[in-house]
């Protein structure tokens, strides 16, 4: 019995060890939406986009660019768009300090350095989007966050460019990734109401 009791205890620990992180990840929404005055603060600290080829490039000392857009929609499919905003950021990895730096290509342009991978990811995916005037407090809406690693050829061009225009944003996200290796993420949150935030 004692032997059986130890076994049961081990199984319980094992089950708990597996289920707790799983439960945590299911319980925590991947998109966090918070109201700050006339803006919505949208963050996605759980999205792990510094992986694969992008991470390899960073470790080789090469900067990697990403482009992101936030859609505020009247339905889940995203066909009714209230507002659209986009931004770009470039990450690099300090060869000597072994830390990451991120630059958000403005306006306003801002940078941060000496970050770990999760911190860099969280900093990049934390954005303020203005609340669309047509959005009433009781009207349901959805927030979509799209993220795409920029093609290296595009990355070379974005250096020095101050911002991004909507035409180019729509153009980038309306076409398929140039190749299978071009990474792409999409997260949706909703239905939400302003009165609940």
């Amino acid at each position: 019995m004692a032997w059986g009791g130890r076994l049961v205890t081990r199984r319980l620990w094992l089950a708990a060890g597996v289920s707790m992180p799983l439960g945590w990840s299911l319980a925590v929404p991947r998109l966090l939406i918070r109201r700050e005055g006339d803006n919505l603060r949208i963050s996605a600290p759980q999205i792990r986009f510094l992986t694969g080829k992008a991470l390899d490039q960073l470790k080789n000392g090469i900067s990697v660019g990403f482009i992101s857009q936030i859609l505020c929609c009247g339905n889940e499919s995203g066909t009714s768009v209230f507002s659209r905003s986009g931004y770009r950021f470039v990450l690099s990895f300090d060869i000597w300090e072994q830390k990451y730096s991120a630059t958000r290509l403005g306006p306003p342009m801002r940078s941060i350095s000496r970050l770990s991978v999760p911190a860099a990811e969280a900093w990049c995916l934390d954005e303020l989007a203005p609340i669309p005037p047509s959005l009433t407090p009781s009207r349901p809406f959805w927030i979509k966050l799209e993220l795409r690693a920029e093609d290296p050829k595009e990355s070379a061009r974005i250096v020095g460019e101050p911002g991004i225009n909507l035409t180019r944003l729509v153009d980038v996200f309306s076409r398929d990734p140039r190749n299978q290796q071009q990474q792409h993420w999409l997260e949706t949150a909703g239905p939400l109401r302003l009165q609940d935030l």
């Binding site: 090469i62 470039v90 990895f93 060869i95 000597w96 730096s101 911190a119």
Partner: protein, 411 residues
Amino acid sequence: MRLFLTGVLLAGASSLIKGEPSQITPVVNVNSRYVVESIEIAGQDQFTLSAGIHEQIQNLVGENLDPASLDELSERIRKEIHAKTVTYRIGRGDQPDQVKVNFEVTRRSIAFEVNVPKFLYHSTQGWTGVVEGVTGYGSSGVTFRLLSDNDELVERNTGILARYENKRLGTDRVRLGFQFESYHQSWNRTTRDVADPSALYRNRQNFEPTLTIQLAKPLTLTAGVSFERFQTQFPAARIESANAVVNTLRYHRLLEDSDAQKQVLDAGYSLRAATTLLSSDFGYARHHWNFSYTFSRDKQTLLVSFIGGVIAGRAPLYERYVLGNSSTLRGWNRFDIDPLGGNRMAHGSVEYRYHYFQVFYDAGAVWDHGKDATPRNSVGVGLRKDGFSLAVAFPLKDGRVDPVFIAGMNF
């Protein structure tokens, strides 16, 4: 519960942003603050980079890392050697706060390109055109040429040239080459009138295996055998051969004094010795010397060159020296100077270029052993850009000015 977790995560993310990390002046690549210690290019034994690229590399070393310049450099390398991709990695240097840049070149599995090495019009001698296709795999390269050349020799030769070259035979210092040529000849009327009919031929073929050894960094020796045969026209069609041992010693050195200044020194000696030991119908030794020096500074370039040659013994017409073409005694017609060429030759040239503008002076003589040499001179001006050139040359004769126009590319 959900709101609580959300709050915790937001607080965590906020502390990451507002905590230890510091806001800095925006830079896209944080490694830009480090100094480039060295730049290496992997697999450089497989290809040769131009002096301009070496100069660009030297300019980047010792400066702060500039990713845009590295991107530009990698693109330039890719275009120059027709590589599939050129990528680079940045790693720690030997000294603190310095970085090493390592370029990696991925070659195309099979590259193919078409070039026009020479295309020109000479107002007294007509057209010359050479088109070549070049392909390669690894260290091997194959060149195939179609040409009709009325500029280099006494004859106009029209035909093909095929060449295989292995640029790395076991070691970087040894190259192996096989060349095959097959031409059909046509003769200028002046040459036909004065030549011994038995010296003229209607077609010729040459097969030439060679081995090139790099004796020292700027000094190479090429040795091989030329199996040349041709079909004479008169008095009856017959095959003759001029099989020869070929040797070339070449010294080529690039001197770069500063960013805007460049000097190139090129010198060579070649010997073709036809002997009956190789079943040749001709026995002769053809010696050829060349020397050139180029000095460039900003938009100015000065070129000084000298060539000389001696043939001992009886050689076929294609071996004889000619002057008065697109590169020697410009302005003279080679058939006016000597329609059969000569077995002695000396020529010197000085050329000055400023941006697109060029002015040159040529002097030289071609003659036969035992006869007096007649020195000739010419001057000219022209425009030159990206291989295209347009020149007008004036032979300095007794009180007469007969301008000759030369236009074309890569000559």
